[in-house]
């Protein structure tokens, strides 16, 4: 214990070549509590140590205390303390990540978030095709096109936001992931008439909104296995609020079109669709 082997680890700090420091450290690690006290005294009495060295030895000592007092081994700090103490060329530090709570560990909140990003991406490109369809020379409804373009842009931006948020929480993005809620793949037809296309968009927005409810429910449900307050509030703030507006707007549009169709024996229809498209051009 007195020979003081040269301590070297380039990642954790400067080289320590001090017999007392390293022997104390070893004492702490292998011989137990008493050595920590003697080590603390050494620090108090010896301002002579280089600060870097002291910092490291303190860290080691504290980690020893933590290891003795707490059973939980899965902390980043423990990883650092253990791995830096070994003169090897690799640092594992498996617990030094952004994962906390149950995200990516238990339940399917992380998986559902990946699937939610994928859902946004697919719907975004479908909306883009609808926007294109309403901008061809035959349909020529620029207002409808604008409406679908806006839906496409919004869902596209949300795709990127979701991917960023998944990685913020220590997860990674899986582009093949599907939700457990997704039982049958809807075959989406793009070439739809005006009212049909609004109906389709309304259904799609409800699908997106209800999926948010589902993930939210997983993140808040009572068994605490998947509770994740951060995901719940993120969904509320960034998704759920906006969904109500979008759905209400689309539902309102279908109500208006319904009126135009049934009244005056349907004679208003062609002018009504034209005017409604003009209205959309000005308001979307």
């Amino acid at each position: 214990m007195t020979s003081g082997p040269k301590y070297s680890d380039t990642r954790c700090g400067k080289e320590i070549d001090d017999s007392r420091a390293s022997s104390v450290c070893k004492g702490c690690t292998f011989d137990g509590l008493p050595a920590i006290f003697s080590f603390n005294i050494i620090i108090l009495l010896s301002p002579y140590y280089a600060s870097n060295c002291i910092m490291k030895v303190i860290a080691l000592a504290v980690s020893c205390l933590l290891a003795l007092s707490a059973v939980s081994a899965e902390t980043c700090f423990n990883d650092v303390s253990m791995d830096c103490g070994q003169a090897s060329n690799s640092l594992g530090l498996p617990s030094c990540n952004a994962i906390y709570g149950h995200f990516s560990r238990q339940g399917n909140v992380a998986n559902e978030m990946q699937a939610y990003a994928n859902l946004h991406m697919r719907r975004s490109y479908e909306y883009l095709l609808s926007a294109a369809y309403y901008n061809n020379y035959q349909t020529n409804r620029l207002g409808f096109s604008k409406l679908f373009q806006k839906l496409s842009d919004e869902t596209w931006d949300k795709t990127i936001e979701l991917i960023k948020h998944i990685t913020k929480r220590g997860g990674s993005m899986d582009f093949a992931r599907r939700s457990v809620q997704e039982t049958v793949t809807r075959n989406s037809t793009i070439e739809l008439q005006e009212l049909e296309s609004l109906a389709h968009a309304l259904d799609t927005q409800k699908e997106i909104a209800e999926r948010a409810f589902y993930i939210h429910q997983e993140a808040t449900r009572n068994n605490h296995k998947t509770h994740d307050a951060e995901i719940a509030q993120y969904l509320e703030e960034e998704f759920i609020e906006d969904h109500a507006d979008t759905i209400r707007n689309l539902a309102g549009h279908t109500s208006d079109l319904k009126q135009f169709i049934v009244q005056n024996d349907g004679n208003d229809l062609s002018i009504a669709l034209y005017l409604f498209d003009e209205y959309l051009q000005k308001t979307v």
């Binding site: 991406m121 490109y125 883009l128 095709l129 061809n136 035959q138 991917i163 960023k164 008439q193 049909e196």
Partner: protein, 215 residues
Amino acid sequence: MKIPSLVLFLAICSAAYATQCNVNPVNVPKQWITMSRGCRDSVRRQIQMEVSASIQYLAMGAHFSKDSINRPGFANLFFEASKEERQHAMKLIEYLLMRGELTNNLTSLIAVRAPERKTWSSGQEALEDALKMETEVTKAIRTVIVNCENDRSAGPGQDDNDYHLVDYLTGEFLEEQYKGQRDLAGKASTLKKMMDRHSALGEFIFDKKLLGIDI
């Protein structure tokens, strides 16, 4: 089975005929629609390629956003590239619309598939991969140009040489491709030099530079 087939029947009918909810489709002269089939189909394939590139760039952004990778500058670069690719697809769609196309077969225009690649060993590798991808896109645009410049299968009244589209692709798309490739190649070179002896620090500093932070 009755109800779904009825819905399908109605859906098919409504696409072609008027119902109480929509107006009769009309016909206006079509002689002005002169894109040949071969040219149109190559542009359609190019749109799919731009969409696939946008998704591949999303995967790159996702990779560099991870906590274990932690390169927000690279992530930003690739997320922006992803948006640009989507805009390229939109520009080509807009072009086809201007030429009287995309009145049908919309559904098969774009397929959203998971990206081929998901991880990169370094920022350097990702930049070089992006450069490779852009080179392939450039090659594909040249193929579209060739197909539209000399379409022997063009029917009567169709353009066997689509001057305007060829000009548009050459002037706008190829120009952007070459500029983008030069930018990526420059970044890859600078990063490679910085990585020469100080790989970890080099990539860290380059990443912050991409974020616009001087350190």
